[in-house]
């Protein structure tokens, strides 16, 4: 028993730092290592340069492996093939938001003072991250929609919505934490889809689309909040009226 147990423990210890992804933002601890190891990083970053020309394909991966000094067969170290390339795009673009945040908000500080305004600005910044691969993005969405890749795709979307709200300074700790992130996920995904067919200069139509959706989301949440408040008030007032009439509630 002892050797196999010791081996298991050793293996777990060795894997722990790389696989333990933190599910929250921390100011006090350094960020955990990324999901790609050095070899995957080398192949994927080289392959990513071929995406505008060859799309999110095995061909791009293979070209990337050769650029990085590997063999054609070495692409097998990337576990999910083309989907890993898509994931690389999603992860790098999400992680690129944080360093750009200061630059964005110092430039037009007057425009983005409230949390919703900053969410809009950051979401737009993330959409612009798709600029170079936009003409290939429909293929990527098709791959992401394959059943085996759906959970990972939704996970990345959730991480993005959370990252945007965190960077926008959202500090809500009530149920709106979920509705805000859920709402932004839906809006972001539909804007991304809209963008793949957008031919306007500088993707102006997409930005207008995004702003309309966020405004609708805002008014919807206002309406829901108002109705909830009214219902709560009416119910408690009704209880109080009944109590004043002597009903034992």
């Amino acid at each position: 028993m002892a050797p196999s147990r010791a081996l298991t423990r050793l293996t777990l210890l060795r894997r722990a730092p790389s696989s333990a992804l933190r599910r929250y933002h921390s100011y006090d601890h350094p960020a955990p290592a990324g999901i790609f190891n050095a070899s995957e990083q080398a192949i994927l970053s080289a392959a990513y340069k071929h995406v505008p020309e060859h799309g999110f394909t095995q061909h791009a991966l293979s070209l990337g492996a050769r650029d990085a000094g590997y063999l054609d067969i070495s692409t097998n170290v990337v576990p999910e093939g083309p989907f890993s390339l898509i994931r690389y795009h999603l992860v790098t673009q999400r992680e690129a938001l944080a360093p750009r945040r200061e630059a964005i908000f110092s430039k037009d500080a007057n425009a983005a003072t409230t949390v919703p305004a900053r969410v809009e600005r950051l979401t737009w910044e993330r959409l612009l991250g798709n600029r170079d691969v936009n003409h290939r993005w429909q293929e990527a969405l098709a791959i992401m929609a394959q059943p085996s890749h759906v959970p990972a795709s939704f996970h990345e979307l959730a991480l993005l919505a959370d990252e945007i709200h965190f960077l926008a300074g959202d500090t809500s700790v009530d149920p709106s934490w979920y509705t805000k992130r859920g709402g932004l996920s839906v809006i972001y995904a539909s804007s991304e889809l809209f963008m793949t067919n957008d031919r306007s200069p500088g993707f102006g139509d997409t930005r207008a689309f995004l702003q309309r959706r966020l405004a609708e989301g805002g008014s919807l949440s206002n309406a829901v909040g108002g109705v909830t408040q009214w219902l709560g008030f009416t119910a408690s007032a009704g209880v109080n009226v009944l109590r004043s009439k002597g009903v034992r509630i």
């Binding site: 070899s39 067969i73 170290v77 576990p79």
Partner: protein
């Protein structure tokens, strides 16, 4: 009141015969507890129970649930098993896995995608298929490379320690197209000590499907794989593994320990060889442990390092030899 002794007896019986899945892969606890499946305990060597306890004497390994065999003894016995199953090997695989092993093998080869090359003309590739006697994997790789990827510039060496299995593969290879036969060669070799005809840093791909659990010394075989692969070359292994779902595991264990030796007896007329097969599956390390062994040999693994097939009955492990 009268029912109580009966009840107690029933509880005692149930306690003494737990499900097969509760056994760990460890040999000693399996040897001491009663089991509800049969085993091939023809003889157990006394005194050599722990593999690490005997310093100085030859390294010991295990054969199914039997411990304390020397590595050469295991090699001989495995040779005996595969010598006796060689002719009925494919028919038995179909019966044991309901034909599903073909799907695993197809997936294994298409995910490896040998012969794929982004350069024009396609770059040549050299592949070694270890323990590939009957050619199941090698023929699929030939098809993937020649037909799917239009790259005839691939050379596949089928290596097996067992001449009987190689003979089956040679016979079957005669039905392949001539162009594919020309890129195929056969080699009788021990995977833990490859011959000098396979040069170091010479291979693009090293595959072993349903073979590595029979090796007398798995770390030595991995070290050999590392030695002969080019930097950037890939080690890929398809092997039975551990089912994580306990309910499915119980059903699977029941099937493998009860039905498979029986089918072996009825179809191939050889119960002991198939008893060994299921015991060796039970003894093989779990996905995480085997990934640890691959990493210890110096390979780099991506992501989880393995892919479960059919709930973990089998698993694909891949490792890449890093650039210097």
């Amino acid at each position: 009141m009268a029912a109580r002794p009966v009840l107690r007896a029933a509880v005692r019986t149930a306690r003494n015969q737990p499900l097969a899945s509760t056994y760990s892969s460890n040999s000693r606890c399996i040897a001491t507890k009663p089991r509800n499946f049969c085993t091939s305990t023809q003889f157990l060597r006394p005194g050599t129970t722990s593999p690490g306890s005997n310093n100085g004497s030859p390294r010991t390994t295990h054969f199914g649930f039997q411990d304390g065999l020397s590595e050469s003894e295991k090699t001989d016995r495995v040779a005996g098993v595969f010598h006796s199953v060689a002719d009925s090997y494919d028919r038995m695989n179909d019966l044991m896995s309901f034909g599903w092993h073909r799907i695993w093998k197809d997936h294994f080869v298409s995910s490896l995608n040998p012969g794929y090359s982004s350069s024009i003309p396609p770059a040549p590739q050299r592949v070694l298929d270890v323990a590939g006697g009957t050619g199941d994997i090698a023929f699929r790789m030939l098809h993937q490379s020649h037909v799917v990827n239009a790259n005839p510039n691939i050379h596949i060496t089928i290596s097996d320690i067992n001449p009987s299995m190689l003979a089956v593969g040679k016979q079957r290879s005669l039905s392949l197209p001539a162009a594919q036969q020309a890129t195929l060669s056969f080699l009788e070799a021990d995977a833990t000590q490859l011959p000098s005809t396979i040069l170091p840093n010479s291979l693009d791909l090293y595959t072993v499907a349903f073979g590595i659990r029979n090796f007398a010394n798995i770390p030595a075989a991995l070290a050999e794989a590392y030695r002969v692969l080019k930097p950037g070359g890939v080690f890929a292994c398809l092997e039975f593994s551990k089912v994580r779902n306990p309910v499915f595991d119980a059903i699977y264990k029941r099937w493998s320990f009860s039905a498979i030796p029986l089918i072996g007896q009825l179809v191939a007329g050889d119960r002991d060889s198939y008893q060994y097969l299921v015991e060796s599956i039970e003894r093989f390390p779990s996905q995480d442990e085997f990934r640890g062994l691959i990493e210890d040999a110096g390979f780099v693994v991506g992501g989880d390092g393995f892919e479960d097939l059919t709930n973990g009955i089998a698993a694909i492990h891949k490792g890449m030899k890093p650039l210097q």
